[in-house]
Symmetry: C2
Subunit: 217 residues, 2 copies
């Protein structure tokens, strides 16, 4: 499949490299078409990897992963242009963390609106699915590194889009995927990050995740 | 042990009844000394159960559980009087949810300060431990009802207080308890509630919990 990845940071490059390794064609998009990190990634990631600006990557992908910093996500998707994303599945991987203060904190979500909803509002013709934001980049592409089976969550307004994203997550190795409903559930998925950060501080590692325990599981 | 329980709702009465069943002496405290729910609970809960106002329950307990609605917790603890709580372990079970709007939401926590911290600030001579707020009342006192072993979290500034609370949690049936550090970690534990509410909406049950998966577990 052709996949666009917006963002050149750890999350974007980790996901992009894994997707290339799985046989997908991946175009990494950056603000500028000649972004050094994106070009270096495309040269090293092997067959199927390419680089461009946000709009190039969005136009290229059948699915587009939004992997910029949360505070830049809406801006990056606007630069990617709505016409390049119309009807497409946009996976919102980012978290609205504010790194400008001493302790990262969720900016939106618990304040009444999530980044996932903001992205869906900014791109009404795209099919936004929130996913992968609840784990570290290394865990996203290697779920078993936490030491056992654990759970991933997604939400979005379009059932077919969620089915496609779930299939992609299974390719990444995820076996336990919970559909949490419409995109408004991004509020809960983003608020979880404050809990995740607290756990990371206590455990002194990002290699962990949660597993839901309930009657059926 | 003598335990004070502040609050006559589902959380307070569920915990108080279980603690009586475990052989503890429990005084349930309400705003008014002749509160009908507290008196009815004391009459039905059996040997060791009694009722009073917030100050009575606080003076009675060696450990005091704060189980009122989150938005009333600081007010209830002020009514319980600081001199009745000096040096004591105060377990903050509540969540700062705002039920006045359509969808419950966390009021504090992600906004930069948690209810747990507010309670510790209001009672500088008490030893506040946040615990039990991440599960439903029924699960608090019967951890296995979710269908397997799952995890509980606590935080607070006083290590000895956390050890005492962990011992009490073990009496309730909890085997996997994570110390998340000082009371500031209540921000993460309270933000988790928005995630919990999202899961509850998707699962259509409150009988679930999370289990941490990481190398050692």
């Amino acid at each position: 499949m052709k996949i666009g990845v917006l963002g050149t940071g750890t999350v974007g490059s980790t996901l992009a490299s894994k997707l290339v390794a799985l046989g997908h064609e991946v175009r990494m998009g950056a603000r500028e078409a000649n972004n050094a990190k994106a070009k270096a990634w495309a040269e090293s990631a092997g067959r199927g990897a390419s680089a461009g600006d946000f709009a190039d990557a969005a136009a290229f992908g059948e699915i587009v992963l939004s992997c910029t910093l949360g505070e830049k996500a809406v801006e990056a998707l606007r630069a990617a242009k709505a016409e390049n994303l119309r009807g497409k599945v946009v996976v919102d991987v980012s978290n609205p963390l504010d790194f400008s203060r001493g302790m990262p904190r969720v900016l939106t979500g618990s304040a009444g609106e999530s980044l996932g909803e903001q992205i869906q509002q900014a791109l009404p013709d795209a099919r936004v699915v929130k996913a992968l934001n609840t784990v570290n980049a290394g865990v996203m592409v290697d779920p078993r590194r936490v030491g056992g089976e654990s759970d991933l969550f997604l939400c979005g307004n379009d059932a077919a889009a969620k089915t496609r994203v779930a299939a992609l997550l299974k390719e990444l190795g995820w076996t336990r995927i919970h559909d949490l409903g419409p995109i408004v559930s991004a509020r809960g998925m983003e608020a979880y990050l404050l809990f995740w950060l607290t756990l990371m501080g206590a455990f002194k590692t990002a290699d962990f995740n949660v597993r839901i325990v309930r009657g059926e599981s």
